[in-house]
Symmetry: C2
Subunit: 469 residues, 2 copies
């Protein structure tokens, strides 16, 4: 089969859908002039709710993005608010100071002033990279702080600071000993607002504005070819053999897909090859694996007034995080347990964030989730611990179309890439190919609103280019 | 009397003393080639401990600077540490999360997530001034935040946020409705470390390295004259009639003295007048009045495990802060009460920071201090409130040689002055006059280490200039 359109978009996640919606809403692109090729059988990409039959409590859990980050400047949040589409019940600031636990039990973070030391370590990152131009991981910078300022730290602070600073892993989705310390210099603009209504609502809003016929499912792109003796400038070919030729192409596949070898079944073969500026960028930035494990219980057996619980790891060498049989040792990784009984008045459930490489393990061995978490969650118990009535794990790393969570900088990369993740448009011969997605934007990188803004940006780029012609 | 030297320094505060010490330690300036003119009968300027006979508990209180701010980069702190001159007992991090009170009693800042909102307001300042290039006070920016984000604030957060953000006044020493909001964008590099040993120790260290004969007391400078038909380039004349001619002059008087009219008894008359760049700077920056009231009690009647207590004001219009008889209403101003029973195991004492214009009132009416503070301190009581056995108030605003605390930006000023407070060296005809002090430096402005660094800077400037000749 063959199609010919003005604009082809690869991927129907939030960036692809926002690009499509922007093009259609402009009135400059008709429904026969646009196609969105989606490799999976559903839209939304890394925005996905659990199926209702997965929850015994009837709660839809966000398996991917959950919060409006940087809420003072979050474009999605402010557009929804301005449109009157959010009620007070749709959002919740789940950022009350929460109790923190280690294998020793409750850690009095405030009493031993560990919160102040953690803030100071945050300030130390900027100081460190002002003086040191070489790369360092989050953990290396924390160790350097401890070395330099040990005379000011109490024995307790020294005991815990390196372990507590691993909370970074719950942001970056990778171990602190690999995460690039430069990421810790990023500042936030506004609180994190829990999106109780779910981001699938946003996906549905965008979908409603795009003609149904524009979105083609189960069409994973395998080839992107420059066209020379043709009216159209670029042709994409999918696994199923569908060929779509277009004037403009917007590629919104996850960074993990761009990083695949060309001969990988899920990779894309570019003819001619991508220019070095683009392939360098793709090689430089990595892909994290933040995951989620959700436990449902008949009753709440923890303090239901807390928004969340933090579990800090023991000081375990990374070579010992997994036992020789491959199972993870408890207290090997930090965990954030969001208390959903603050949000839903049904039984009790905890949504737990996990970093790589724990995510890969649990997503491949979901039946091991409770075995791993039980010794840690026992610490938060105020009543007898119950076994879960259901367990839901995200499946991002096992999904060949996703392969993880979002882009991240590891320690190998160079400073010039740390502040901006925006590769400019790519020209393949006479073909014009653009990229969108959370990995292509500096403000909101890794976030829904960043992906959304990047889709809008690329649609507007195309509209501008059309105007020029 | 007449003296002739290579370098004259006006003021024997920390910047003047550091400049003198640097010159002497260089070996390039002999003891007969340097003079330091001090208007008062003692050295130290705004570094001063209470007299021992003022304290019934035998505690020396720092009436001026108390903390090592920005402790990760504080030059004074790190030099003292490197020299092995600080013991563990000499410093104390007094930054444990402390309880906060209003006229309603204990305010559960963490429980109502007001701490999160306060952090977010801190982030909003940067956002505000990115969009608005005109001036705004701290309080105006907070009000703008509330207006823009009221749909996200709980009724309690709305009730308290403007009042709690007045804690800025305890940093800036001026009311939040006058303090320039741009100051709130400054970030810190390190925790605040309480200097229990006192800064007079630093003053004594510097003094020991300066020949005694170099420092002349009770010599307030009234005239600075350019010399034309003379070997020396500049002449200063003091109130007592002493004339000192010098090749170089370093002026370290407080900004408050520079701001006086030339015909003021405590002002300086410049011939020729200061160049407009310098006088503009002097007019642009203002002088704050952070003060201290110290109460001593026979016993501790508050929670002795707290580092400090915060009192937040009521929402009182500034026109009502003082009653018609001139006395201040309780809960008109924020207050920080540092719990000295954490530092000294003798009776109990509280050191309370006060902003302008309360400072002016209490320093002029020290006998009214307990009347003002009692209704507020009653809130922190865990045992029956006792009357103080002694009260010590700072006297900065009533001291005609000081007239307040340190430099501050008020709302009238222009953005270009907010990030840097370093006026370059001033040339009066063929005379070379340099300025040092907390008001002349960007890093550490308003702080002891800033003043210290500025003195070192100007001494090195002079040493460099001498090398050139």
């Amino acid at each position: 089969m063959k199609k010919s359109v003005k604009v082809a978009i690869v991927g129907a996640g939030v960036s692809g859908l926002k690009a499509a919606e922007t093009l259609i809403s402009s009135g400059k692109i008709g429904k026969d002039e646009l196609v969105v090729l989606e490799a999976q059988d559903h839209i939304g990409g890394r925005i996905q709710d659990s199926h209702l039959n997965q929850s015994k409590l009837g709660i839809p859990y966000a398996l991917g993005a959950l919060w409006y980050h940087d809420s003072l400047v979050n474009s999605v949040l402010h557009e929804l608010l301005d449109a009157g589409l959010l009620n007070d019940d749709d959002v919740y600031y789940d950022d009350k100071d929460g109790p923190a636990y280690t294998s020793d039990g409750l850690l009095d973070v405030s009493g031993i002033k560990l919160n102040r030391v953690m803030e100071e370590v945050g300030q130390f990152f900027g100081l460190y990279f002002k003086k040191n131009h070489s790369d360092a991981s989050c953990d290396q910078v924390v160790q350097e702080y401890v070395n330099k300022h040990s005379h000011f730290l109490t024995p307790e602070q020294k005991k815990y600071i390196r372990r507590t600073m691993r909370y970074f892993e719950l942001w970056y989705g990778v171990p602190a000993e690999k995460a690039n310390g430069k990421m810790a210099m990023e500042s936030h603009t506004g609180r994190n607002l829990l999106n109780k209504k779910g981001y699938t609502f946003l996906i549905e809003l965008l979908k409603e504005k795009i003609p149904e016929s524009c979105i083609l499912f189960n069409e994973g792109v395998r080839f992107v070819n420059q066209l020379e003796n043709s009216k159209k400038k670029v042709e994409v070919e999918t696994k199923s053999g569908l060929k779509v030729e277009a004037d403009y192409l917007i590629v919104t596949v996850p960074l993990s897909i761009l990083k695949l070898k060309e001969d990988d079944d899920y990779g894309i073969k570019w003819t001619p090859s991508l220019p070095s500026q683009t392939s360098d960028y793709i090689n430089t930035v990595d892909f994290a694996a933040l995951g989620k494990v959700i436990f449902e219980f008949n009753n709440v057996w923890w303090n239901e007034n807390e928004d969340h619980f933090l579990i800090f790891p023991d000081q375990i060498d990374s070579s010992d995080w997994f036992r020789s049989d491959g199972t993870p040792r408890p207290f090997s990784f930090p965990a954030l347990a969001v208390n959903y009984s603050r949000l839903y008045n049904k039984g009790g459930s905890l949504v737990i964030l996990t970093p790589a490489p724990l995510t890969e393990y649990l997503e491949s061995h979901p039946d091991q989730s409770w075995t791993y978490f039980k010794p840690m969650l026992e610490k938060i118990a105020t009543k007898p611990v119950q076994d879960p009535i259901s367990t839901i794990t995200s499946q991002w790393t096992t999904n060949p179309y996703i392969r993880g969570s979002y882009s991240v900088l590891l320690t190998k990369i160079d400073a010039k890439h740390s502040s901006s993740g925006e590769p400019e448009g790519v020209e393949l011969g006479n073909a014009v190919i653009r990229f969108a997605g959370e990995h292509t934007i500096a403000e909101g990188a890794g976030c829904v609103h960043g992906a959304y803004d990047s889709g809008k940006r690329e649609a507007n780029w195309v509209l501008n280019a059309l105007k020029g012609n």
